[in-house]
């Protein structure tokens, strides 16, 4: 799978963004949410057991990610209609505050190399991508084990926290320059 330091692949995918059939689907590309950090997390299949708890857990702390200028984007190889049906019928997913990407052609999951060789669906991979499109964190667990969104938040915090004070300046380092 792609790792830290590599560029997150370009993509253009349909995503399920709401339950209202009139505006449920939207095309999202790697150029959207410019200037923001992105947290991508993939799961194997809609309508299974481990996934909803994880997805809902990310949803519950969505505000914490937004506060840190980070957009969460979930995804699997299921179609946007399957995402829609799942969200409609699952209590915990009805009001999900972030999009679900539908990587039906397996383009993004292949480019990331996170397709499980046996199951043919995405493994539980999570990526934190910085505003320049570079992967800064990659985390993947085996199909049956859920992930910890708090851990992802912790890492995002650590990635965004730099000691910028002059008193930490070591001789020879560059001085603080306004971007």
């Amino acid at each position: 799978m792609l790792g830290v330091g590599q560029k997150f692949p370009d993509y253009s995918l349909t995503a399920t963004v709401s339950l209202d059939m009139k505006n449920a689907f939207k095309t999202i590309t790697n150029n959207d949410y410019a200037g923001k950090w992105k947290v991508y997390f993939f799961w194997p299949k809609d309508f299974t057991f481990v996934c909803p708890t994880e997805i809902a857990a990310f949803g519950k702390i969505n505000k914490e990610f937004l506060d840190r200028d980070a957009q969460i984007l979930g995804g699997s190889t299921d179609s946007e209609f399957v995402h829609h049906a799942w969200r409609t019928h699952h209590e915990d997913l009805k009001n999900l505050p972030f999009p679900m990407l539908a990587d039906v052609k397996r383009e993004l999951t292949s480019a990331l190399d996170i397709l499980d060789p046996d199951a043919g669906v995405a493994q539980r991979a999570t990526y934190i991508v910085d505003p320049d499109g570079i992967i800064r964190f990659a985390y993947v667990t085996d199909l049956s084990v859920g992930r910890n969104p708090q851990e992802v938040l912790r890492v995002l915090d650590a990635l965004q926290t730099d000691e910028l004070c002059p008193c930490n300046w070591q001789k020879g380092e560059e001085t603080l320059v306004v971007a």
Partner: protein
């Protein structure tokens, strides 16, 4: 009360402060409007008298841009944290603390949107009041590396000193005012 009214209301025992404010703040030439008012804002905020903060913020809003005002407040906010943390590090003889990550966000030091040197000036004023010696030393060096003169730096410190003193007096005078009301 406006800031001028507050200064006029200072009691006789604080006449020096009243006159210092008048001659230094109203007639100084070393600092630009933005540098002056940002220093007043940051100094008032870390001096903690609510009346003074209210009056200074109100007046500053008419003197400098909204971005500059936000940036001065940000300087007081972030220095309120850094002055404590880094003062501890420098006071402790245990060198190990300096090698351990601080884990404190201070991203506004990059994203405030005004001249970095003005932000540094306001941070220095706040540090002088909060009493972090290492912060004062490092910010002072940064300012001089960016072309500030000792006179300019000292002017902002004079302003910080006067603002802090005025806040102290206003705290005390507010007791008298409150007692008068409840008596």
């Amino acid at each position: 009360m406006t800031i001028d009214e507050l200064i006029d209301s200072l009691p006789a025992y604080a006449k020096d402060l009243k006159l210092n404010y008048s001659s230094l703040v109203r007639q100084q030439t070393e600092l630009s409007q933005q540098q002056l008012w940002g220093t007043l804002v940051a100094s008032a905020m870390v001096s903690r008298n609510l009346e003074l903060i209210r009056a200074v913020l109100a007046e500053a809003a008419t003197q400098i841009s909204p971005t500059a005002l936000e940036a001065a407040k940000a300087a007081a906010a972030v220095m309120g944290m850094n002055n404590i943390y880094y003062r501890f590090l420098h006071l402790s003889s245990n060198e190990k603390y300096r090698a351990i990550p601080a884990k404190l966000r201070m991203n506004v030091m990059r994203s405030h949107g005004v001249d970095q040197t003005d932000f540094e000036l306001w941070s220095t004023a706040a540090s002088a009041i909060n009493g972090c010696g290492a912060c004062v030393d490092s910010h002072e060096k940064v300012l001089r590396n960016h072309g500030f003169t000792e006179e300019q730096i000292l002017m902002s410190v004079r302003i910080a000193s006067i603002v802090h003193a005025i806040a102290t007096v206003l705290d005390t005078e507010s007791i008298a005012a409150a007692d008068t009301v409840t008596a």
